[in-house]
């Protein structure tokens, strides 16, 4: 029992840190010392000092402000991607699992086809065709990632839909929609949440990666990935251009991964 308590503690701490980060991202306009977009050519490539705590970049923008403001962009896009992927995967997976037969086959073969590409390469290809930008990056990553949730949902739905309690529900006149929302979803949602929590870090990295390649968020909007990209050529002369956004990605991804693990430990009885 003490074990569960410990797990709960870890989960709560991680949740607290994650929520703290999200709040930080939301109120970031209040925390920044300089406008993250304003250039100042008198203070180019400044070392960290009291005026610029993280230094300035090659065009004199405050890195501290850009990192803090970038949290908003990074976390915002990640959660947007997460919800798109989760909801579309859930709906498609449920349709496949419930209907079975030919519809199921078609949906799953499409999913297999998408899954057979290496995901980042596929995303780069899509963004390459549609043109760089946040919207296209989100689209590309959603096209890849819905399959993961659709497959998981489908399997879970199939496991639950022939249970006795579903028959019992049919016998008391529950409609199909009601059976799905009231009987199936509550019983399959926890593995999906675990999967989601485990994926946040990966999604963040993928988004930052695409931005780093110049395909995601376009400059001058501050985003950790494209800040790394811009600072790349100064790695020897002005490492603070890379250290701070890099550390930001590292910390946030680490926190969300740990949160995901602790959620899994807490919800999944197999890991107790």
């Amino acid at each position: 029992m003490g074990n569960i308590k410990k797990k709960k503690m870890i989960f709560l701490i991680m949740l607290f840190i994650a929520i703290f980060m999200i709040i930080l991202a939301i109120i970031s306009p209040l925390l920044i010392s300089h406008d993250p977009l304003v250039t100042d050519f008198e203070n180019v490539l400044q070392k960290p000092c009291s005026e610029y705590p993280f230094g300035t970049d090659q065009v004199g923008r405050c890195i501290y402000s850009r990192v803090i403001y970038g949290a908003r962009v990074s976390l915002g896009t990640t959660f947007l991607l997460l919800s798109i992927v989760f909801i579309s995967g859930l709906i498609i997976g449920t349709i496949a699992g419930m209907s079975g037969g030919i519809i199921d086959t078609i949906i799953m073969r499409i999913a297999d086809a998408v899954l057979s590409f290496p995901d980042i390469v596929f995303a780069i290809a899509i963004v390459g065709i549609l043109g760089p930008g946040m919207k296209n990056t989100l689209l590309a990553l959603s096209v890849i990632w819905w399959t993961k949730y659709a497959r998981l949902t489908r399997v879970l739905v199939m496991a639950v839909k022939d249970k006795e309690y579903i028959h019992a529900a049919t016998m008391i006149g529950a409609s199909n929609i009601k059976i799905i929302t009231h009987y199936i979803f509550p019983n399959i949602i926890s593995p999906l949440i675990v999967q989601l929590a485990l994926d946040i870090g990966g999604m963040m990295l993928a988004l930052a990666g695409l931005s780093f390649l110049g395909l995601g968020v376009q400059p001058p909007t501050p985003e950790w990935g494209n800040m790394l990209n811009e600072g790349r050529s100064y790695i020897q002369t002005a490492p603070w251009l890379l250290i701070y956004p890099g550390a930001a990605i590292f910390i946030v991804v680490a926190v969300f991964n740990t949160l995901g693990d602790s959620v899994r430990n807490l919800l999944d009885p197999k890991h107790i």
């Binding site: 309690y165 028959h167 019992a168 016998m171 008391i172 006149g173 529950a174």
Partner: protein, 321 residues
């Protein structure tokens, strides 16, 4: 005196296809009549098609052939809307009480579901009614806030019964509703049923493998073997009147101290019904089968006030007399 018949099964057949395309006849030519307020029992060993039959009556599985007539209406292939109307009047109690509950649904919510789905009452009123129902089956009202895993099997089965009777259906089908419970709770549940039956006049289809139980509850008992009805018994004299060798074998298999040492032949052939067998389904296991039994199928023949038997032996006796 003929009673009003509310449910009629005519020549029900169910054929399952396995992956290799082989047909397996789970139910063959079953005819059952259910009168209003009557309690019929369907008895047989596992694998004989009782549960399939229950599911066909409950419209959870469709029959391959035959008709189901409910109150003079053919409901074999009805639309979804009408099935809903049918469920308003026919409720089924499933075998495993715990499996009947969605693990994440509270008992209260479970109880009010039918009343909301059938738009009988609003949520608030339904919760009140749910408390009443819980009292009716001898449980306290605070069970409303509990999750199914907090209740014992017997309590859960009571909740299931509460929900089924709450709708005041015309027919309740119970598919081995006591087999997952231990004997003392079995008795409680059965007594509860008999009490409720006195208060609310519903017809009852009682499916069980326990002959003694069926005898104490039912007005009429159908004995099934490998998908066919081999004997129909009426009244309370089941043990004395049982004619069919299979029924007798079933009776012999009931455990008691007295017959504990008696050897009972375990059925090895269940599910392996040979396709070539045109004759009696029971012929291969029957202690007194003849060549004729293997070749000709016996008809269900009424031999006296209490029993109808499908057995060649009794066909002959009848011919002679």
């Amino acid at each position: 005196m003929e009673k009003e018949i509310i449910l009629q099964l005519e020549n029900i057949q169910k054929i399952f296809k396995d992956n290799r395309g082989k047909n397996f006849k789970a139910i063959n030519n079953v005819n059952i009549n259910l009168a209003k307020g009557e309690c019929i029992g369907i008895v047989g060993e596992s694998g004989c098609g009782k549960s399939t039959l229950a599911r066909i009556i409950a419209h959870l599985t469709s029959s391959s052939e035959g008709r189901i007539i409910y109150k003079g209406e053919d409901i074999t292939d009805i639309s979804k809307q009408s099935v809903k109307k049918y469920y308003r009047n026919v409720q089924m109690i499933l075998q495993d009480p715990l499996a009947t509950f969605s693990p994440r649904m509270k008992i209260g919510r479970y109880l009010i579901e039918p009343f909301i789905n059938f738009k009988i009452m609003n949520k608030k009123k339904a919760y009140g009614y749910a408390e009443l129902l819980l009292n009716k089956v001898g449980l306290s009202e605070d069970y409303i806030e509990k999750y199914p895993n907090e209740l014992s099997g017997g309590e859960l089965q009571r909740v299931v019964i509460a929900r089924a009777i709450g709708l005041e259906p015309n027919i309740i089908i119970s598919d081995e509703c006591t087999s997952a419970l231990d004997v003392s709770i079995q008795k409680q549940i059965i007594n509860l049923f008999l009490d409720l039956k006195k208060k609310i006049n519903f017809s009852y289809i009682f499916i069980t493998h326990d002959l003694a139980l069926a005898e104490s509850v039912c007005d009429k008992i159908y004995v099934m073997y490998l998908g066919e009805i081999v004997e129909v018994l009426e009244g309370w004299n089941l043990v004395r009147e049982a004619k069919h060798p299979y029924t007798q074998m079933l009776l012999d298999s009931v455990f008691s101290i007295k017959n504990f040492n008696k050897r009972i032949e375990v059925n090895k052939r269940i599910g392996k019904k040979s396709k070539k067998a045109k004759g009696c389904v029971f012929a291969e296991r029957c202690p007194n089968s003849t060549i004729e039994c293997l070749e000709k199928k016996p008809q269900l023949i009424r031999i006296n006030r209490y029993a109808s038997v499908a057995c060649k032996k009794y066909e002959k006796i009848r011919e002679i007399s």
